[in-house]
C-alpha cells in the first residue's frame, strides 16, 4: 500500500515475498486498487473508475479513518472533518481570538490544503512528524501555536519554552514553581471538555478565588466539577474534584488574585485562564486578557448574550456599544493612567505619553436632555476626534 505526499492511502497492490522477505509485485494480472483525493479530501472519480477503486481498507485520506458507514466524516483526531464542505464540523479548540485567520474556526488547513494538512484537527502542518517527549507530534505551522510547538495536553514531560511573561500576552503554560504538578484535560478538544462540564459563563458562576479580595471582585468563574492543582497543593472542597483537569479563571479585577493565594507564580488567576488554551497565544494575558478570554469562550460556546458575542476593541468604537465599564477597563492600553473625573462621576484614563488622548467612562447625568448623556457612556478623545459610545444601561440602547 502506498501513500501520497499527505500520507493518504492511495494505492494498494498485491505483493509476494521471497524467502528473504524481499517484496515483489504479484503477477501483473493481479488487481491494483487506487484511491485519489482532492486537497480537501473529497474522493476523486467514481468507485469503478481507473482513478478510484474505493479501497476497502479502513484508512484513507491523510491515512485517517472515515466513518463511511454513517456520517461520511473523516476522523481527524480532535475533530471530525466533512470533505463535502471542506470544513470541520466543530470549531478549532485552539482558536486564537487575536489572530484573524483563526476567526473562521471551522476552516481546514488555513484554507490552503495544497500547502498544509491537519491530521490532528488542531494545527496545520507542512513537514514531518516527530517524536517530542515520547509522543508523536506534527510539526505545527499554525497561527494557533506561535511558538512553533505542537499543542500539548499531556504536559507532564513538556517544559514551557521559557518563563512565560504572563502580563504581556505570552503563551499560557503555567510555571512550575514550587514543584507544581501540572494537569491538563485528557481530551484534546477543549471545547468538548468544556461542554462536558457544563461550564458556567455568567455571573451566576461560583467564585473560585481563595482571597477575600478576589471573591469580592465577583468576577471569577470556574468550571463546575473542575479541579486544579495550580501550585503544589492538593485542592479539595466544594467544586473541586480529584480529577486532574484544568481550571480556568477570568474576570475583571483578578490580577491580585495570585497574591497570597499561592498562585502568584502564575501571575494570578487570569494567567491560569490563559493556561486553559494550551499552546495558545491569545495576544493578551493578565486581567485584561482574561476578559477577552471570557468573551471568546462565551462566543464559541454560544453561552454568551448578544453583547458578549461581540469582540470588543478600542479600534472599533462601534463594537463598544453596550459594553460594561468593566469591559472597557480590560481594553485600556497598558500603562495608561487611571484617575477619577474632576467633575461629574466617572473615570478618566490618560495616555501618559500623549496627554491629549483620553478615555472617559462617564456614569451618566440623570436628567440630561440628550439621552446619550443620561446613562453610562464612553468618551474617547483620540486621533483628532471626540466620540461617545453608550454603555450598558444607557437609554439610547433601548431606542
Amino acid at each position: 500500500m502506498f501513500g501520497d505526499d499527505q500520507g493518504s492511502a492511495t494505492v494498494m497492490m498485491q505483493v509476494t515475498l521471497d524467502a528473504s522477505g524481499a517484496m515483489f509485485p504479484a503477477a501483473v494480472t493481479d488487481p491494483v486498487s487506487r484511491n485519489a483525493y482532492t486537497p480537501y479530501g473529497a474522493v476523486r472519480g467514481e468507485g469503478t473508475s481507473a482513478e478510484n477503486d474505493q479501497l476497502s481498507f479502513s484508512k484513507g485520506w491523510l491515512n485517517q479513518i472515515t466513518d463511511e458507514a454513517s456520517t461520511g466524516l473523516v476522523y481527524l483526531n480532535a475533530r471530525y472533518y466533512d470533505a463535502g464542505t471542506s470544513r470541520f464540523v466543530s470549531p478549532d479548540p485552539l482558536m486564537n481570538p487575536a489572530d484573524p485567520r483563526t476567526l473562521d474556526a471551522f476552516r481546514y488547513a488555513e484554507n490552503n490544503p495544497v500547502t498544509y494538512s491537519d491530521v490532528t484537527g488542531l494545527c496545520s502542518t507542512t513537514g514531518s512528524w516527530a517524536y517530542v517527549g515520547g509522543v508523536l507530534e506534527p510539526p505545527c505551522n499554525t497561527s494557533n501555536n506561535t511558538k512553533g510547538k505542537p499543542p500539548r495536553y499531556d504536559d507532564n514531560d513538556y517544559a514551557p519554552p521559557k518563563t512565560p511573561d504572563w502580563n504581556h500576552g505570552d503563551s499560557g503554560w503555567q510555571g512550575t514553581g514550587g514543584g507544581a504538578t501540572r494537569h491538563s484535560p485528557a481530551d484534546p478538544s477543549v471545547l468538548n471538555y468544556l461542554a462536558s462540564l457544563g461550564v458556567y459563563m455568567d455571573a451566576n458562576g461560583q467564585t473560585s478565588c481563595e482571597t477575600q479580595a478576589c471573591m469580592d471582585s465577583g468576577a471569577n468563574y470556574w468550571a463546575p466539577g473542575a479541579a486544579m492543582d495550580g501550585g503544589n497543593r492538593d485542592r479539595s472542597g466544594p467544586g473541586f474534584t480529584p480529577d486532574p483537569v484544568w481550571m480556568f479563571f477570568f474576570g475583571d479585577d483578578i490580577e491580585g488574585c495570585g497574591s497570597g493565594s499561592g498562585w502568584s507564580q502564575a501571575g494570578g488567576c487570569a494567567a491560569l485562564g490563559m493556561n486553559f488554551i494550551p499552546g495558545g497565544k491569545a495576544g493578551v494575558a493578565g486581567a485584561k486578557g482574561s476578559g477577552k478570554l471570557l468573551k471568546w469562550l462565551k462566543r464559541i460556546l454560544g453561552h454568551g448574550d448578544e453583547a458578549a458575542s461581540v469582540m470588543r476593541s478600542l479600534d472599533d468604537l462601534g463594537s463598544l456599544r453596550g459594553a460594561t465599564p468593566a469591559d472597557i477597563r480590560q481594553l485600556i492600553p497598558e500603562g495608561w493612567t487611571e484617575m477619577p473625573l474632576k467633575t461629574g462621576s466617572g473615570t478618566r484614563f490618560v495616555n501618559p505619553k500623549r496627554p491629549g488622548e483620553a478615555i472617559m467612562i462617564e456614569n451618566g447625568w440623570p436628567g440630561a436632555t440628550d439621552p446619550l448623556h443620561s446613562g453610562p457612556y464612553l468618551r474617547v478623545s483620540r486621533d483628532g476626534t471626540v466620540t461617545r459610545v453608550p454603555l450598558q444601561g444607557n437609554p439610547v440602547l433601548d431606542q
Binding site: 484617575m339 474632576k342 467633575t343 490618560v350 496627554p355 491629549g356 447625568w365 436628567g367
Partner: protein, 120 residues
C-alpha cells in the same frame, strides 16, 4: 442663546475639564468634512463666547491631567488668541482646559437640543 458649536463644547466642559484641543476635535467629530482651519476658528469663537457669557472658566493644567489652576477671564481671552494654546499638549507641559460654571450648566439645560450624532 447658544449655537450648536457652543452647546457641544459646553457639554465637553460639563463632562469634565476638557482641553482646548478637544473642542476642535469635538467639532471635527460633528463635521468631519470641514477644513481644519475653519474648525479651529469656530472652536475659538465658541469658547470665547462661552467665556464671555460666564458659562465656562479657563484653567491651566499640568499635563497629563494634573493640577488645575483657574485663570482670570481677561488672561483667558488673551490666551485663546495664541494658536499654541489649541495644540494637543505634551507630557510635562501646561495646557488650557475649560470647565463649566454653574451658570453654564443651567444654560445648557435650558438650551435647545441640536440632536448630535456623535456616537457610533
Amino acid at each position: 442663546m447658544m449655537n450648536e458649536d457652543e452647546r457641544a463644547i459646553l457639554w465637553l466642559a460639563i463632562e469634565d475639564f476638557s482641553g482646548l484641543w478637544e473642542t476642535v476635535w469635538q467639532l471635527r467629530s460633528l463635521g468631519p468634512d470641514v477644513d481644519d482651519e475653519v474648525l479651529a476658528q469656530r472652536a475659538r469663537n465658541a469658547v470665547a463666547h462661552l467665556l464671555r457669557s460666564g458659562w465656562v472658566d479657563v484653567y491651566r493644567c499640568d499635563e497629563p491631567y494634573g493640577e488645575l489652576s483657574l485663570i482670570s477671564t481677561d488672561e483667558a481671552v488673551v490666551s485663546l488668541d495664541q494658536p499654541s494654546a489649541w495644540d494637543e499638549p505634551q507630557a510635562g507641559r501646561v495646557s488650557l482646559r475649560i470647565g463649566a460654571t454653574e451658570n453654564g450648566r443651567e444654560a445648557y439645560a435650558q438650551s435647545p437640543d441640536f440632536l448630535h450624532h456623535d456616537s457610533p
